[in-house]
Amino acid sequence: MNAVAGTLTPYAAALGITVAEEAGESGAPVLAIAFGSQIEGRPGVLHGGAIGGLLETAGYAAVVHALGNGAEERRLKPINVTVQFLSSGKPKVTYATGRIVRLGRRVANVAVEAWQDDRERPIATAVMNVMLSAR
């Protein structure tokens, strides 16, 4: 298990989310999930909730990455998440990565994108506000 995989939630691991790249273009990890019945909505289509789960997981991974060594002293709590679904997810591998828009002392604002074949054509995006509280 690599360093990023060790920070994923039990839920993320159970769903089948894996680490495709420890540090993608933005520096944040790129996560991936293979298609399977556990993330299927309408037949042959990714479930929106599962995409939301992947996006959130990638968002948290980006925050943990940005905090670096300070991550262990913080507990990340969700404030809110808004998911935009842009096109239906096909039965293939889906990737997601987050970008820290602002890392404050108490709140991180994160933009996340999920895509399949083409990094430039996201199938869903999310904006998250994450509370960074002391442990």
């Binding site: 039990p10 839920y11 993330i39 299927e40 929106g48 909730g49 789960g53 808004t82």
Partner: protein, 149 residues
């Protein structure tokens, strides 16, 4: 797949077991609880592998997003009285507080408006007391294919 057919009368209580048995919501273990004219309520039992942090034993936010999404869809079909394919355009959750450890989370979605092509829902997710929610949510869905009023 024995999905309900379009145009058939939609009874959430009757259709939910089949609808919730498959795919992502089947894997999560989402269960039907109740419905009214324009609302539907689903619950997600606590499960050890759906938690967000090992030390807190609380359901992760991901499964709650899925639960709210599914409750939203079900509230639309309940209001319309038929099953039609819908796609979620956007979904927003405002988390009010963490769920209690080892507690099920219940989502009640209200479909407050349907247009020719879109449907709007709002609701709350809670872990026992509906007036002390874990999250508030709002969603916008598009009808897929043939549009109808």
């Amino acid at each position: 797949m024995n999905r309900p057919k379009p145009q058939s009368h939609f009874d959430p209580a009757r259709i939910a077991p089949a609808l919730l048995a498959m795919g992502h919501v089947g894997w999560l273990g989402v269960q039907y609880q109740a419905h009214g004219e324009d609302w539907a309520q689903l619950s997600l039992p606590w499960r050890a592998d759906l938690i967000g942090e090992q030390e807190h034993q609380v359901l992760a936010s991901g499964p709650i997003v899925s639960l709210c999404d599914m409750a939203g869809g079900l509230s639309i079909w309940t209001r319309l009285g038929i099953y039609i394919p819908v796609a979620t355009l956007d979904l927003r959750l405002d988390y009010q507080r963490p769920a209690k450890p080892q507690h099920a989370v219940t989502a009640r979605a209200h479909c407050y408006k349907v247009t020719r092509s879109a449907a709007f829902v709002s609701g709350v997710a809670h872990d026992g007391e509906a007036d002390d929610p874990v999250a508030h949510f709002t969603g916008c869905f598009m009808k897929i294919g043939r549009t109808q009023g």
